[in-house]
């Protein structure tokens, strides 16, 4: 058999291809599991003041308390559909801390805390969860617009829509980006690829997050795809793509900040895969994780959860203590109680209103139905 040149030999070395894929995405990491800084230069590069560090921790605590209270209330039938967030606070809160009010958020159904951070009142989040349309009016308590869409249920749809927003922001020459979230399961949808590919082709102002939390309902990450890194899917569309320790708030913030800066300066989108874990059920609607994963596995991840390391970091820096945390937890729980009361007192939805909001200009048949339902007080 004839010999083959070294280059051609390498091209046809399929084992090498697999090894190269696996080796190409080192994980960005700043803190270890105990909150100790393992990369001082990266920590400095994040340029986080003490106030920033406290704010990030506060956001994470708020998210955790919202998770605990929502889960409890859901069990009492007082909340509605809820997708627990415990374990993902760094991926969600530290990432969103890097974006501004002018940036557009495209959330998935588990990304309620990020929308709240943009000024969406918690009582609206509760209404969304309960299936009340007023939950989808994206304004703050003092009526300022919130640049966010509703939590998306179709797990790739927000990606193609984000490509459009990112292109629009670029065309309007705005100093803003769109940031969109999906999960490991979401990367299997065609829209995931179409979204990053469109955004890449147009060099749109976009940052895409893949929160790789280990499970898409019951389907483990290993069964989701043969790709060794979900970030590698970003390479297929020509995007700079990163793998980040998703339980490390500083690493997530650093990656997000730099990705935003890259995108807003006209360089095109970035994709960030955060390696994290969903510590609880997929949703409060009857999912039992012990049907598809072990207690040991869950416990192991609880030891690596992001609040522990962020709290420890701040305590080591002398800017946070137990009393401050207890006080803040009380404050947050009072806020949630107050917000539930507001949600409880919102008027029932009307069928006539649904029809009025289906088309701006209603048809004859719609007008007839509006009149009928209004006459019945519905």
């Amino acid at each position: 058999m004839a010999d083959i040149t070294a280059t051609n030999k390498q091209i046809l070395d399929f084992n090498y291809q697999l090894t190269a894929q696996a080796d190409s995405f080192p994980t960005l990491s700043v803190l270890d599991n105990t909150g100790k800084i393992v990369d001082n230069e990266a920590f400095e590069r994040a340029e986080l003041s003490n106030d920033d560090l406290i704010n990030i921790l506060k956001r994470m605590i708020l998210s955790r308390q919202l998770d605990i209270r929502s889960t409890k209330l859901a069990k009492q039938g007082r909340f509605g559909f809820f997708a627990p967030t415990a374990g993902q606070e760094a991926s969600q809160m530290a990432s969103s801390y890097a974006f501004t009010d002018d940036d557009w958020l495209m959330p998935g159904y588990r990304d309620i805390p990020q929308i709240v951070m943009k000024g969406w009142p918690i009582w609206k989040a509760i209404l969304w969860s309960r299936g009340h349309v007023l939950g989808n009016v994206y304004t703050t308590e003092d009526d300022k617009p919130v640049n966010s869409w509703m939590p998306q249920i179709i797990i790739g749809a927000q990606y193609v829509e984000a490509a459009g927003i990112g292109l629009g922001l670029k065309k309007r020459k705005k100093n803003a980006v769109v940031y969109a979230y999906t999960g490991d399961g979401g990367t299997s949808q065609g829209d995931f690829y179409e979204g990053i590919n469109f955004a890449g082709a147009y060099h749109a102002n976009a940052v895409f997050f893949v929160q790789n939390n280990g499970y898409a309902i019951s389907t483990p990450r290993a069964v989701q795809t043969a790709a060794p890194h979900l970030a590698a899917k970003g390479w297929a569309a020509g995007l700079p793509s990163l793998v980040v320790d998703g339980n490390d708030p500083i690493a997530v913030y650093l990656a997000s900040k730099e990705a935003r800066s890259w995108a807003v300066n006209g360089n095109g989108p970035v994709l960030i895969e955060t390696i994290t874990n969903r510590l609880e059920a997929h949703s409060t609607a009857g999912d039992d994780p012990l049907r598809y994963r072990t207690k040991d596995d869950i416990e192991e991840w609880w030891e690596k959860e992001p609040l522990i390391r962020m709290r420890k970091l701040l305590q080591d820096q002398g800017i946070w203590n137990e009393k401050q945390e207890d006080d803040y937890v009380k404050e947050v729980n009072q806020l949630i109680d107050d917000q539930i009361k507001i949600a409880d007192n919102v008027d029932k939805q009307k069928i006539s209103n649904f029809i009025k909001n289906t088309l701006e200009v209603p048809s004859q048949a719609m007008k007839e139905q509006i009149a009928k339902f209004e006459s019945e007080g519905k």
Binding site: V137, I165, L167, G168, K171, N197, E360
Partner: protein
């Protein structure tokens, strides 16, 4: 008034819309330099630049999602789906997202998007290109389906669709693109949405149709007039929502109805017209409603199109059945 082809009228509408409003943008597969596979956007990129008329990657869901996203920045996207047979690839963006968004946001956000697409057949395209899927889209709440039957309406209805804050699926009959010519008023004008038009006056029987079915119905009406039967042809123009009032008026006038559609019998719009007549105007009827539609098969391969598609003879025969009922 100048005589223009159906496709020239459509291109002229987009030209005027681009000229009138900087927020109007056009994108889709091959719509740029190539001017679209049917040349509907020919010359528009050269005139308005790549910023406003541009090609997309070849992925329909991406096109639909991108249109939705662009509305957040106050653009009014006109997106082209190259062939209506490719609709399934963009169905979530159309049915699951843009059609629902006004409702989902409690009326606080609009979706001023036009989904343009050639539909129908008779040009021997490969399979999955030609199709009559309007019935499927017409059943989606929150979206309009507009299907012009002549060049003047094609221009006026497209300009209305672009000005609308509701999403519109604007369907262009690919057989009529170059085969149908007609007088088209000059300059910018709009033709109202949700409003049917009488394409031919008559008083003995009503033929209700839309899009590519209208020229077939008009030809049949001409034949019938030679036998002394005066047929009125109602062109629905917007097939969702239906102009129930105009349907009622023609039924009251003639008392006899034949519904004509190019789509398969089981597919939607004709059935909706018949059910509105049954529910509201049945006492005006002197005979059961007749229906002319394509056979209930999958859209056929190119060589079989001529046998499969409806013809004016089918309409004449159905009219005679209804007329002879008494």
């Amino acid at each position: 008034m100048a005589v223009k082809s159906y496709i020239d009228a459509i291109r002229e509408a987009m030209d005027l819309a681009l000229e009138k409003d900087d927020d109007v943008i056009i994108f889709g597969e091959d719509v740029g330099k190539n001017g679209g596979v049917f040349r509907a956007t020919d010359g528009l990129q050269a005139k308005y630049g790549e910023d406003r008329v541009f090609n997309t990657p070849l992925a329909e869901s991406g096109i639909g999602g991108m249109a939705i996203g662009l509305t957040t920045q106050n653009y009014r996207p006109i997106m082209e789906i190259q062939f209506f047979g490719f609709l399934f690839e963009v169905m979530d963006s159309i049915a699951g997202q843009m059609a629902r968004n006004r409702f989902r946001f409690n009326g606080t956000r609009s979706m001023p998007i036009v989904v343009r697409s050639p539909y129908g057949g008779g040009t021997k395209t490969p399979e999955m290109h030609a199709d009559n899927l309007e019935g499927m889209v017409a059943q989606i709440p929150g979206i309009r389906v507009v299907m012009p039957a002549n060049p003047a309406d094609a221009k006026g209805l497209l300009l209305s669709s672009i000005a609308s804050n509701d999403p519109v699926v604007f369907l262009e009959n690919l057989h009529l693109y170059r085969s149908l010519k007609g007088e088209v008023p000059e300059g910018y004008y709009t033709t109202p949405l949700d409003k049917a038009a009488i394409a031919r006056e008559g008083d003995y029987i009503s033929i209700i149709s839309y899009g590519g079915g209208v020229p077939v119905a008009l030809k049949a009406a001409e034949e019938l007039s030679k036998n002394g039967i005066s047929a009125e042809v109602l062109d629905l123009r917007t097939v969702s929502p239906l102009d129930i009032q105009s349907i009622g008026e023609t039924v009251a006038k003639t008392g006899r109805v034949v519904v004509v559609q190019e789509a398969q019998r089981m597919a939607g719009v004709g059935a909706a017209v018949m059910s509105e007549i049954s529910e509201r105007f049945i006492l005006s009827l002197k005979a059961p409603i007749g229906r002319v539609a394509a056979p209930d098969s999958v859209y056929p391969f190119g060589q079989a199109e001529n046998d499969w598609m409806i013809k004016s003879d089918d309409v004449v025969a159905k009219v005679m059945e209804v007329v002879n009922y008494d």
